[in-house]
Assembly symmetry: C2
Homo-oligomer: 700 residues x 2
């Protein structure tokens, strides 16, 4: 296995303005870039390096502006190449050429985003959804019969869960699979237009089979009436592989052009009383006997549903990782450009200022860099949790719930962050950022849908909030001491509003020494306390506000939940920010070199304080920060930005991407050459004594 | 002149869920949609209706997914059609078929964005920049010789100002035009790669001429050395119209694919000692005699430069208007969909909840609707100011400065708002929002560059801040009473930190009655006072912070400005928000119908309170709001969202777009039909008594 060099090696990239790139402090402290790359690549570093090496090959790169038909064909071809070269089997059992390595497989898969997000997502459809559904929802017979063709892409498959009328609410899909004991078939049917399967990768053109989710309806010998057992999955051939035509009873249409990811043939499917053999029910969690009797190893229909959907978590995990990688590419481009591009003369009228030496430019880019680091460390934590569950090492109900909550908290946070980052990077590069050759607009367009697919971000945050509320209820229910502490907090909190004078004295003491406050905010414990306090308090307040819903009429309860939906989402976000901060802080321990650890600690502080600044009104409103201390948040951020500025290039170079991954003209060294040539010309002009003189200002 | 019907007339659009659309309060109050449309269309309502009528014709619409070459050809063709049909002359003199109507011309032009933003911007390049530079920077001989072909698009022209190395800093462009008295020519030259003209519409392919900006260098009989008179504009043929080849000495390249606006052929140009006849200097503000003597009606080189660039303001004005229109189209789509789309069962388990009945969905969309209204009213104000100056009615130096500041404040605000709005709308429509057929992603991609071209938003905000600081210095300098009041404010402000107890008492009184506070926040005067206080205080604080720069060494002054760059930008934004709020409030006076005015007043309050909530930390930190009162901001916003919710459809319908402008499948009534069909099917199932029963929950 070859490994990539951790730092880009193009000599053009070494053209850097003074003070940036391998920057050393006066005492010699510098970021050890290769070592930091090692830390960032994490547990699966070797696999990631290997995947990156593979993706230096042009045959995997997106060709910008390629017509949709060609792009789709190219991506299908890339999938088959990956399969043929054995790059996709890792998560599957050894007997199918795999390694039962779930975490490692996802880590490799996440790297595909640098080549072409369409490749990443189409690979996700084929192996992460279609083949994975066969693996996780099917049983040995299905594995033997279906997995080889799924893995090799001899059968491109769709994952037919979403319907036009039902996206996030999977439990309500309207497609039915009614068992007919006379012929031992299920009758798969789409009752109306809104029940068409929709947005399915591989359904628009290439797919010859699909895993179709439908309400399973049976009437066994003991059932007085047909019973709906809820959503189950079926393996269904949909197209004739030779002709590409739909099979009888199956129809659909292409979803057409999309805002991005046009290398994938998303489409719609419908079924008109299609007969599916009994053996094609993926029957791991629910089976139907020849006579129509239904059995399941999971008695509760609700738990069964969530168990079946649990395999979807790997999609969310991988989107989290891919979003972090996309943000890294964006920052690699924008920070490199900001270190080379000059605009407007500075204190020296004969020279222009490098963009990153502008206060606002640092304000725009460096907090995003800090959050990208935080997201990266948090993702490593998520990936480890994922592997613990999927490897079976921690495959408990609690472990799965933890994993799902973690993924539901981090995927929205990192995918929204990636969009913000790519957009800010594009704007920070001005007109050059808008050119497709500089990568940012296409990456952003492709990443756009990451915030609403595989679980709409807003819905996922609500899932997190509900889990946090449940945990809170358990904690409070189980431990009177915790209850007492929480109540004490409530009282203190209430006191702020009822007795502002008393509180004000406390505030006064707190604010006494601004320099001490700044010192405190720099301390990890203070940041943790502030972030944790907010995350916990928001849940506690929500629990209290929602308490009346328990005994209320459904309309009243629904109205109450609705009135607090916004706070639920904010509480989930606060939880995610705390998770990211904790992961970043734990990540610092992995850094052996003291200079590197110092710089990363500043970056962690920048992350923590940026989050606190974002929610400053909350901290002030709830008496957690005095006005005086709150002011130091912003001034300390400004100080951190200045401290981090000289290390910015090293911090993006540590992502370890090569020019073959970045592929942006403005980050290739071209801008540095242009600027160097211009400055040289100006210098020569001045030296020549032949330069025109400026027009004299008129005398008044 | 025909006028469009103000409300969409497609019968499918009338399929609306109960409680939305022409919603009436119990007392009969409703939004008078046609009358409101009239108010929103503003001063140039007839021209706007006429332009919209024209744009119902398919020949002007963007064809999504069209190959770039075809898209470019189509847009050029559309330009020629507009010219041939007499739709583009309005801003030009009567003798060229125009009406000297600058405001009306821009109003028509802004409407083009609904057909295809590429059409809008290419029209802007041809008539707003190229022809307009001839008109405003040239003199009668240029008008006679060049305008007819510019207006008819017989000569497609580029506006060659920006260089690869210099975008916002126009004063530093490096292209030179050196006068040679021997031949009475200017020698136009590009000294190095960074001085190539770049990002120019029409330069990539279609342009046969360009207005080129270059440093004018002359040496008249009285000059001891060559003098640089700064940036001047020249009319320069660049391509052979018959062959499409560059003329001798001219070169360039296509900018290639972009993140949007691919109907425009942006490109680069360079000049290798190209000889330009003396008569082709656009000489209104600076002329060169045969012997090389330079003369100008404006003695100060600085003022001359800003006067020449002053004509650029119309680009900013029109981008502001187009951004408002794009945000309106986005909201028309997302609100219509949110009123028809159902997801997840509600209190009634047999029915699903309409998206806009979710608290978070209202939170996402309605404040954007409020800001879009505010932006629309503010744009009308800007357009009037523009017409006052360009018509000559108020063409004073002060009038121009006011206009430029206004445009520099509003263009960034509305273009960023349009991107936010289109993105939020796209996410609020889920997967459907990502399909190109639903319009949102393409509109957003096209609008993306609006935030960095025609003046980078960040640079424009700094321009606003500088103007505000100058005004502040004049005010304080001129009037001791003002100075005293401002100082008193500073003292009060400082007291907050030095004497928190005293302040706390004040806060206590303030917070005494939360219900009264809510009432106060609803009052226009309170909102105005809060917004104005913040805008003014931020400038005053900046002025104080930057005062030491006046006597400091250049490096020290530069560092001081840099340290406060972020606050300068925030101060400009605060100013823009105040302008928007004032414009919205003045707009209320134009609404005669009391029901409509009531609803619009709630919408104005929502805008004001959303802005205050966004900056709540500032109000708390600076003692402008007590904690208790600050809490009422959010609860009052929630109440306004509930009040406005039933009127949401009417408020977007009042934008007055027809299906031919909106062109989004999900806003066409298709979603309502799908949902209706599904609910009908479910109802029939339940009525039939044949519906499968749910699987019983297991007994414990």
């Amino acid at each position: 296995m070859t490994t990539t060099a951790p730092v880009p090696t193009d000599p053009a990239r070494t053209i850097r303005p003074t003070g940036t790139g391998q920057h050393a402090e006066p005492d010699g402290t510098r970021v050890d870039v290769p070592a930091l790359t090692g830390v960032l690549l994490g547990r699966y570093g070797d696999l990631r390096r290997d995947a990156r090496e593979l993706l230096t090959q042009e045959r995997f790169w997106r060709i910008e502006g390629q017509p949709v038909a060609d792009h789709r064909a190219r991506v299908l071809d890339q999938l088959r190449t990956l399969a043929a070269e054995g790059n996709v089997h890792r998560a599957f059992p050894v007997r199918f050429g795999g390694a039962d390595d779930h975490g490692g497989s996802l880590a490799r898969f996440e790297e595909l985003v640098t080549a072409d997000p369409s490749l990443q997502i189409k690979a996700g459809v084929q192996w992460g959804l279609y083949a994975s559904a066969i693996l996780h929802l099917g049983t040995t017979a299905h594995h033997d019969r279906l997995l080889p063709d799924a893995l090799s892409v001899d059968v491109p498959g769709a994952f037919a869960m979403t319907e036009t009328g039902h996206g996030s609410d999977v439990a309500s899909v309207a497609t039915t699979a009614t068992y007919d004991p006379a012929t031992e078939h299920f009758v798969l049917h789409t009752p109306f237009r809104a029940a068409w399967k929709d947005y399915l990768g591989n359904a628009g053109q290439h797919g010859t089979a699909a895993v179709v989710f439908a309400q399973l309806i049976t009437q066994g010998p003991g059932d007085p009436a047909p019973v709906n057992h809820g959503v189950h999955a079926f393996h269904v051939p949909i197209r004739d592989a030779a002709t590409g035509e739909f099979l009888p009873g199956v129809g659909g249409e292409d979803d057409g052009l999309k805002g991005g990811l046009n290398g994938i043939d998303n489409g719609r499917l419908w079924f008109d009383h299609v007969r599916v053999p009994r053996a094609d029910l993926l029957n791991r969690y629910g089976d139907v006997a020849a006579d129509g009797s239904y059995t399941s190893p999971i008695a509760s229909p609700g738990r069964r549903f969530f168990t079946m959907l649990g395999t979807l978590v790997q999609g969310r995990v991988s989107l989290d990782g891919a979003a972090v990688n996309a943000a890294r590419i964006g920052l690699q481009i924008a920070v490199t450009y900001a270190n080379q591009r000059r605009q407007f003369p500075g204190a020296d009228p004969t020279d222009e200022v490098v963009l990153l030496d502008y206060g606002q430019h640092r304000r725009r880019l460096l907090p995003l860099l800090a959050e990208t680091y935080a997201s990266g460390f948090a993702h490593e934590h998520l990936l480890a949790a994922f592997d613990d569950v999927f490897s079976g090492r921690a495959d408990t109900e609690e472990g799965r719930e933890e994993l799902e909550t973690l993924a539901a908290a981090l995927k929205p946070t990192s995918t929204w962050h990636a969009l913000d980052t790519l957009q800010t990077c594009r704007e920070a590069c001005g007109g050059a950022g808008f050119l497709t050759q500089n990568r940012l607009t296409s990456l952003r367009a492709d990443l756009d849908v990451y915030v609403t697919f595989e679980g709409d971000n807003t819905v996922l945050y609500q899932l997190v909030a509900k889990r946090l509320l449940t945990n809170y209820a358990h904690t409070v229910g189980g431990d009177p001491a915790v209850m007492a502490r929480l109540m004490a907090e409530k009282v203190t909190d209430a006191a702020l509003h009822r007795m502002p004078l008393a509180r004000a004295v406390q505030t006064l003491v707190d604010a006494g020494d601004a320099r001490r406050s700044a010192g405190q905010l720099r301390e990890a414990d203070t940041q943790r306390a502030l972030l944790a306090d907010r995350a916990h308090t928001m849940v506690a307040e929500l629990a209290q506000a929602l308490r009346p819903a328990r005994r209320a009429a459904p309309e009243v309860a629904a109205a109450l939940f609705d009135a607090h939906q916004h706070e639920m989402i904010e509480a989930a976000r606060a939880h995610a920010e705390l998770l990211q901060w904790e992961a970043f802080t734990r990540g610092l321990d992995q850094v052996a070199d003291s200079g590197t650890r110092q710089v990363l600690t500043w970056l962690r502080d920048l992350f923590g304080l940026t989050v606190i600044e974002r929610h400053l009104a909350w901290y002030l409103l709830n008496g957690r920060l005095s006005a005086g201390r709150a002011r130091t948040v912003t001034s300390y951020i400004e100080r951190l930005l200045l401290r981090l500025r000289p290390h910015a290039q090293d911090l993006v170079d540590a992502f370890g991407y090569r020019d073959e991954h970045v592929r942006a003209e403005i980050a290739s060294g071209a801008e540095a050459r242009r600027q160097g040539e211009a400055r040289e010309w100006q210098r020569a002009q001045r030296a020549s004594g032949q330069a025109p003189v400026p027009e004299p200002k008129p005398r008044r």
